[in-house]
């Protein structure tokens, strides 16, 4: 007598440590094999785009940080570039270099988070601790320049909020940091922020070697990732994939090279691509991207040291006047008042500005009708497009591979749900 075997459905998340936030994945299982995957997203939906419609343009920059909350400044960059395109203004050269540098710092921050948490999902605890050691240093750079460790709100239409600080904050003596240890922690922090970054980037490749030491030839890591979640180049294009998901499948496509923005045309770097399009190749691509980002940061540091200058346009309809000027200049006072109460009108029109965010193409489609608030903002989040393909790719894989696949997408639900 034949025994009847039925598929059963399983709830993965929304409260699951490997779901990277609030993903509810309804899996239809045949034993250990996935037959169908139906992701339920939107648990973190905050209506960012609608909120942006109700506020003057500048007040929404802070919302951008909160979309993909591990690559904050890249999101700001897309939004700010969209506004700049419609306004017809361009940030000064120094601001462009600062943006390039911080985009790459952000990329390293993002990939460190990714390599740490993905390794943790797949059973390697130590990488997380190593990765967060370097993340801490870079977050101090965020804090030095903007005052916030994560949600910086540093980029503005027309430049960046302020120039790079001449001093890095130092660790104080405490029960946890004292004596030699304190001296070591502060040894990079004697000079300016650029000195700190110089020391950091000189050291960072050896840190990447450490992560690779832990993972690249690790037998368990390879068993979990090699040949898992193979995405053909055709499939990657059909499912609107961008960034590492596309490059891991062997397509050399990077907006920084193909449609350069900021100062990417002036700096020297290489684009790593994968061969097989599996989770392991995407891991290798991300690790190499960290090394390339490090290269770009070094070039930006050198340029920024040699070339002081303004970091914001001198157009006081968009940028605030200097505080000294406001003390005895009526015009400056009026400009300041109007800018911070009403904002600025953006000429009617529409534009789409995209940046190569660490996760893929992050784009901002902006429609203005001439008012001081956007008429429509749509944020094209790479994670949203990537996650939509999970049903196609995961069918036939084992349950444990779902975790590897969610990890390799590099999902952050702040941007998926917006």
């Amino acid at each position: 007598m034949a025994q009847e075997i039925r598929n059963y459905t399983m709830n993965f998340g929304p409260q699951h440590p490997a779901a990277h936030g609030v993903l509810r994945l309804v899996l239809e299982m045949d034993g250990e094999t996935v037959v169908r995957a139906d992701p339920h997203v939107g648990l973190l939906h905050r209506g960012t785009e609608k909120l942006a419609e109700s506020k003057p343009f500048n007040q929404s920059i802070g919302y951008m940080d909160r979309l993909d909350y591990v690559s904050m400044m890249c999101n700001e960059h897309a939004y700010v570039r969209a506004i700049e395109t419609l306004l017809g203004i361009e940030a000064p050269e120094r601001a462009q270099y600062i943006r390039t540098m911080f985009d790459e710092i952000t990329r390293i921050l993002n990939h460190l988070m990714w390599v740490g948490s993905n390794a943790l999902d797949l059973g390697a605890m130590a990488v997380f601790l190593y990765a967060f050691r370097e993340r801490e240093e870079l977050m101090d750079v965020y804090e030095a320049v903007s005052g916030a460790r994560m949600h910086a709100t540093y980029y503005r239409p027309g430049g960046v909020y302020r120039d790079l600080p001449g001093k890095m904050s130092q660790y104080r003596e405490s029960p946890w940091h004292k004596g030699k240890d304190l001296g070591r922690l502060n040894s990079w922090r004697e000079g300016s922020m650029l000195d700190f970054l110089d020391a950091f980037t000189a050291d960072f490749p050896s840190k990447v070697d450490e992560y690779e030491e832990l993972l690249t030839n690790n037998r368990i890591w390879k068993q979990r990732t090699v040949g898992i979640g193979v995405i053909s180049p055709e499939l990657a294009q059909q499912w609107s994939m961008t960034g590492v998901m596309l490059r891991g499948s062997g397509i050399e496509w990077d907006l920084r090279k193909k449609q350069p923005y900021a100062k990417y045309a002036e700096v020297d770097f290489d684009i790593p691509v994968g061969v097989n399009g599996d989770c392991y190749d995407r891991y290798l691509v991300r690790v190499e991207e960290m090394r390339q980002s490090n290269r770009i940061i070094r070039q930006c540091v050198d340029w920024l040291r040699a070339n002081p200058g303004p970091v914001m346009v001198e157009n006081f309809k968009v940028a605030p006047p200097r505080r000294e000027a406001m003390k005895n200049d009526m015009e400056a006072l009026i400009h300041h008042f109007k800018l911070f109460t009403e904002g600025y009108g953006v000429p009617a029109g529409e534009t789409y500005a995209a940046v190569e965010a660490p996760k893929g193409e992050f784009g901002c489609y902006l429609v203005s009708d001439g008012a001081n608030k956007p008429f429509r903002v749509h944020l094209r989040a790479p994670g949203f497009a990537h996650l939509s393909s999970i049903d196609t790719i995961i069918r036939g894989h084992m349950l444990a591979d779902v975790v590897a696949m969610i990890g390799t997408y590099d999902l952050v639900f702040g941007e998926v749900d917006r």
Binding site: G42, G47, L51, S240, T242, G343, F384, D417
Partner: protein, 241 residues
């Protein structure tokens, strides 16, 4: 963007599709407006034909043109003094009960599709208006680009645009059992219901929102939005003369 072909993308589009499209080029952005009935045929051609090769669909989003170009504050009435009235129907100024009942506005909803060609390194924006604003319907492009699936679900969820031929048109971002399409311009910013846990009933209950709609900065459209004044001031710096 590369310009491998002699003529521009806009010219190639005009030559291939003729009257089916209305083409606008601003800077490097090429925008094409298209009728819903032609969308699928044009989309398939855009993906496959040489000269277009738009293999990647970057984005689909809905848009609601209700109230486009409306200002809340008249700034040009200097003869009688400034108007302080900030009555308007813009986002954030009304609650669910007083939401504006939109009068029939032709061509209120549209779907905007962004395409990218990896081979030719070019981008294109397609806009298709839904004819009926009471029941906006557009054809689904999921058959041409499978990646459109979730983007169209999102546009359906947030704007109520129905995509004909979509394999699985469910809500995606809003809550289970959500009523309305929240990104429409006549949907209040504060929402409709709020959620809390009721310890007596021992379950989550939905109630009408208790907060008041509030807008801090009125929506203003000024003539100098093009920064004409800023440019004039820069040119004629009276303080130095």
């Amino acid at each position: 963007m590369t310009d491998t072909q002699k003529n521009s993308l806009a010219e190639r589009l005009a030559a291939r599709f003729g009257d089916m499209l209305s083409i606008a080029t601003v800077g490097q952005d090429v925008t094409v407006e298209i009728a819903g009935v032609d969308l699928l045929a044009v989309a398939a051609a855009l993906r496959d034909e040489p000269g277009f090769r738009f293999g990647v669909l970057i984005d689909v989003c809905g848009i609601d043109y209700l109230g486009y170009g409306q200002s809340e504050w008249e700034t040009d009435v200097s003869g009688t003094g400034f108007s302080r009235g900030v009555e308007g129907q813009a986002v954030g100024r009304f609650n669910w009960a007083d939401r504006p009942r939109a009068e029939a506005q032709p061509r209120r909803f549209a779907a905007v599709i962004h395409l990218l060609s990896l081979e030719l390194n070019q981008r294109l924006r397609l806009r298709a208006f839904a004819e009926d604003d009471a029941l906006p319907v557009l054809p689904s492009v999921t058959g041409i680009w499978p990646g459109a699936n979730w983007f169209e679900r999102e546009a359906f969820d947030l704007y109520g645009i129905l995509f004909e031929g979509h394999p699985d048109l469910r809500r995606i971002l809003t809550d289970y059992g959500f009523v309305g399409h929240p990104f429409r311009k006549d949907f209040p910013l504060i929402g409709n219901v709020e959620v809390r846990y009721d310890p007596e009933q021992k379950r989550v209950v939905y109630e009408p929102v208790s907060i008041q709609p509030r807008v801090l900065v009125p929506r203003v459209i000024r003539d100098d939005a093009g920064l004409i004044q800023a440019k004039a001031e820069a040119a004629d710096d009276w303080r130095r003369n």
